[in-house]
Structures are given as C-alpha cells and as structure tokens.
Symmetry: C2
Subunit: 334 residues, 2 copies
C-alpha cells in the first residue's frame, strides 16, 4: 500500500519516521480532530518520545513572530542546537483558515521554505476541541518529536491565555516585543514576563528600542528570577539582523539548562501538566455524559427557582458520579 | 455590632442590601478569595438573585474602555435601562495592583465618581484561584445583583480568553475598537466578533473611523447572525460624544431581548454554564486530592519511562476515583 493511503497510526508513524510528510500530516490531523484515534496517535508518540528541542515564540499580533520564525528555520536547517537539520514549525492559530492540514496553505505562511522538504510547517486551530489547544498542541509536539524532528518551533499567533500557555510549554520560550512606549508593560500584563526565557525586541531599528530594553530590564529587576536571567536580544527580522545572536542565545539557554539539570526537571513538570490537562478533559467528558439526556435541564430548573445554588447542584452530580469521595477528610468541613 | 465588624455572610448581605459598602466589599473579598466561605456567599447570592441588568465592556488595552465605563456610570446614575440609580462597576483585571478590595485604589480608577456613594467600583484579580475568573466573576455579579444593584457594568482590562468569556457572560456585551487599519480584524481574531451585541468605535474623531465601520459591517455580513444585528456606535468617550446614543442602544438591545423572549433564554444558558464551571472546578479539586501525597510522582515516573501514555494514566486515576463509569457505553469503543 502506498504511504499516502495508510490509515493505521502505527504504520503512519513508520512512514513519517522515514520522512513521508503526507503520513506526518495525517497523524497531526488525527491529533487535531480529537477522539479515540487521536488518543491512539498520542499514545504511540508518548511512549516513543524522540528528543526534539522545542522553542516557543509568542508576542502580540504584528510583532513579527512569523518573520522571526522563518529566519530561525533557516538557521536551524544549517545547525540547530542539536546540530539537527530537519525542522518543524507548529503555528498555533485559533482563527486560521488553514486548519485541517492544508499543506499548501501552511506553506504559504513561509514562502522561503515552501520547496524545502526537510522543513515541515503546520497550522493548528482546535477551537472547541475537548481539552482545547492545551491538549492538542502538546500532543502534536510529541508526534513531531517522535518522528525524529530535532527542532520544533511553536509559534503562536495571538496572546490569548491558552496560546501563552502553549508557548510556555517549550524548552525555551521567546517573547517578542516591539520598540515603543508601553509594549513591555503590555507584555507584562499579558503574563508574558513570567514565561519568557528570552526577550526579542524586534523591529529594533525603530525609535524606542533602548527604552523598551530599559523597561524590560527594570521589570526583570523587580521579578524574582531563577538561576537564568532572561536574555534580551534586538533583531530586525525583516533584514535578518540579530537573528544569529537570537539563535545562539537559544542554544546558550539550552546549554545552561543542561548544565544546571533544569531541562529534565522542566520536562518532567510539563509531562505532569499535560497529564493533568488530559485527566481534566476526561473528567469533563464523564460529567458531560452524566449531564446529557435531560439531567442538566432538571438541575437548571431548580437553580432558576432559587431552590439550589450551583455549588450544591455540583455536589449532587459528584455524588452520582462517585458515590464515595476518596479525598473526603474525616473531620467536618467547617 | 457595627456593620463594619460583621463577618457572617447572611448578616453582611443584610447590611449590604441596606447600602453599606463596607459589607458589600467584604462579601466580594470572600468571593475573590475562594474556599468554603466564598461558597456560602455564592449560595446566598444565587438563591436570592435580584434583577441586575448586566453590561460587559471589552476590547484591546488602550481602546478607552475605562473612560467609556466612567461615562456610562454617569448616565446610569440618571436613568438606567431599569430606571435604576445605583450602579456597580466590576473591573476584571488579572494584573491589577488593586486586588483584594482596596476601595480607595478602585475609586482612583474613576475619579469623577469617587465621592458618589451610590456608585460601587471594584477590581477583581483572581489569577490562580480555583476555577479562575470564570467562577469568581459570575459569583461577584450575582452578589451585586442580590444586594439590589439595578445595573452592573463588567469592564475587562485585557482580551485574554477568560476575560472575553467573562465579558460575554452579560446581558449586553459591548466590544470597543478604535479607528485604524486592522483593528476590526484584530477584534475578530480575538473572538470578539461573535460575542458582540454592540460595537463601539471609540476615538471616532481619529482618521479611519469610516473604514473601521465598513470592516465591521462587512464582517457582520459574513457572519451568521441571530435576530439581533449588532449595532455600531461611534463615540469620543473623552469628550462624551456618542455616549448617550450608546446608552440608548444598550437599552434598545435589552428591550429587543425582552420582546423576543431571548433574555430569559440567555440567562438560563449562563446559569447552566456557571454551574458547569463550578462542577469542573469541583472535579479538579477531587482529582487533585487523589494525586496529592506522592500519587502523581509515581504516575509521572512510569510515563517518563515510556511505559504508559498520559491517556492511559488518566484512565487509571478515573478508575480509582469512580470504580464504575456511569457513562460507559455498553458496546466496544472501536
């Protein structure tokens, strides 16, 4: 059977490991779609993990993330932090019209790599999916790692909470800001300060770059930091300026984590977080099952009548799902 | 006992209904803090619901939401959609330094109402709280309604996913954009188009207002709409221009919903959503209990060894929490 006709996840993995992009695309479509087959794919990916180094790239729309990512792909093709040559880009875009594995659409994102078959580019849009991006993106990253990608770049399009979490769930998280009053403060407000391993001031040829650097340094001074102080790199991605330094700094952050032993710790924490997300989604599925079939209508009716508040109603459902609460303390709750 | 010393939720409610702002502030602090006492407060609020009309105001940082809200407060004090005179403002700001009920801090947000004791202004920042803003803000809105506020304005500071959801969980949702290329498109990307009952083009004296209106109309034309087509109002909030029309349009949207019977339907849907959020948080609490005490470390170890994938691990935990799955289909999963 030609690789393009495969549907069995194990066979798709084998073909994808051999470099077949159509099989890889099919695996990621299964992950994106959710359901039992996505679970099977994730199961295979998690139990044969690979060794991709993952880099998250986030920041406000228009900051220049795509152009930066494009430049990083070029460098990663030459020599990645792992000396790797294949590169995968996962563009997390809840509003993308290119969802569902439209390979040509995805390639249009980065025309300079459109003809390079060792670069794999993929958008993900999983709005409404059970567990959402928080489950689908880590699964997709695991798949890319499992098929042998040495470097996976995760670029987010917006700065929604889920997208920020997704970008933070990488080995090195790059936060892109632009020069100008307030951009650093906005980044802080969006929760980007605490997830950044590296700041990029992109479009650094514009006025205000020095002030933005000062703002970032000041905010870092006011923050309790671990052993790594987030580096600040200035780039003009459109011209390629500073991108070499950015790539070298990503490598430096990786080396620092290996030396300090924190890379393994962080990966362990991420695995735990992913497990908890999957567990939460599974529980949601179970209670949705309990609430289906008219159950929730009855509950809402008594709540609307003011007889029962939603906390009490939730307790009643929990009592139905799990007759004995294994975590109940032996003493009273008051 | 003076009202300022009360701690019992029922007594605090009674004092707050009589207009005591310190008691109201204490109730909201309990809600914000979470835990058993917040549950007690929410229980009382849900079972004596009041009849507040709620208006959500959202949009990108810098769009002028606070100034608009300030102007709406002035109008609501004169004659709200309910002819009411008391007004509450809930400013949802995950990064606010004014969290925890710093009344003076909150009043500084809107200096023109700082001395008006029939205006109640409150910031909420509940980062990390179990269930998050999605649980705490509806609870706070219920409390404000329950103590007799005829109008509650819910202003969000950013456009994170949670904040958007919070702003959407109101009777009328106002999305604020500014003139200029791309602002309407950004609003669409942030998921604001689908939640808007009303668009405000604020700073409409700047170039590009007409283009932004055209963009919005075009996007609305491309969207499947219900019986209400979102209105577009141009304002210059700093000068007060257009704010009367905005307030009248909010009233028109309210009347439309009452005539169509959709107000009750939407409120019922919101109650169901709030119940589901609380249920999800409760389940999370239960599984966190199961995972505490070293359980999760064992699970992560076998996952790291590649023996078990996180889906399988989640199933094992679910089996421990609920020995028989009440939603299991009788046939096989394949």
């Amino acid at each position: 059977m030609p690789a393009s006709r495969l549907t069995d996840p194990a066979a798709l993995f084998e073909a994808a490991r051999g470099g077949d992009q159509a099989s890889l695309a099919r695996l990621l479509s299964l992950v994106e779609r959710g359901g039992p087959r996505s679970r099977e794919v994730a199961g295979l990916a998690y139990t044969t993990p690979g060794d991709a180094y993952t880099v998250g790239i986030t920041g406000a729309p228009g900051a220049g993330k795509s152009t930066l990512t494009d430049r990083l792909v070029t460098l990663a093709r030459q020599a990645g932090p792992d000396g790797g040559d294949r590169v995968a880009v996962l563009a997390v875009d809840p509003s993308s019209p290119y969802s569902g594995g439209a390979i040509l659409g995805d390639r249009v994102r980065m025309p300079s790599h459109a003809l390079d078959d060792r670069v794999y580019i993929r958008s993900m849009a999983t709005r409404g999916h059970l567990g959402g991006l928080a489950v689908a993106v880590p699964n997709a990253v695991r798949v890319l790692s499992s098929v042998g990608m040495p470097v996976v770049l995760v670029e987010t399009v917006g700065v929604g909470q889920q997208e920020v979490e997704v970008a933070a769930a990488t080995d090195t998280t790059v936060v892109v800001v632009n020069p100008g009053w307030g951009d650093a403060i906005q980044a802080n407000k969006a929760g980007l300060l605490e997830i950044a391993d590296l700041f990029v001031i992109n479009k650094a040829d514009r006025p205000g770059a020095r002030q933005t650097r000062r703002d970032l340094e000041l905010m870092l001074d006011l923050t309790e930091l671990g052993p790594w102080r987030p580096a600040i790199v200035e780039t003009v991605a459109s011209a390629g300026d500073g991108v070499d330094e950015l790539w070298a700094t990503i490598g430096r952050h990786r080396d620092h984590q290996i030396e300090q032993g924190t890379l393994a710790v962080h990966r362990r924490q991420r695995l735990e977080r992913e497990f908890r997300q999957i567990l939460a989604a599974r529980l949601r599925e179970l209670t949705d099952g309990v609430l289906a079939g008219g159950g929730v209508d009855d509950i809402v009716r008594v709540m609307l009548d003011g007889e029962v508040d939603p906390y009490e109603a939730a307790d009643r459902v929990v009592d139905r799902v799990m007759p004995s609460d294994p975590t109940a303390p032996s003493d009273s709750r008051d």
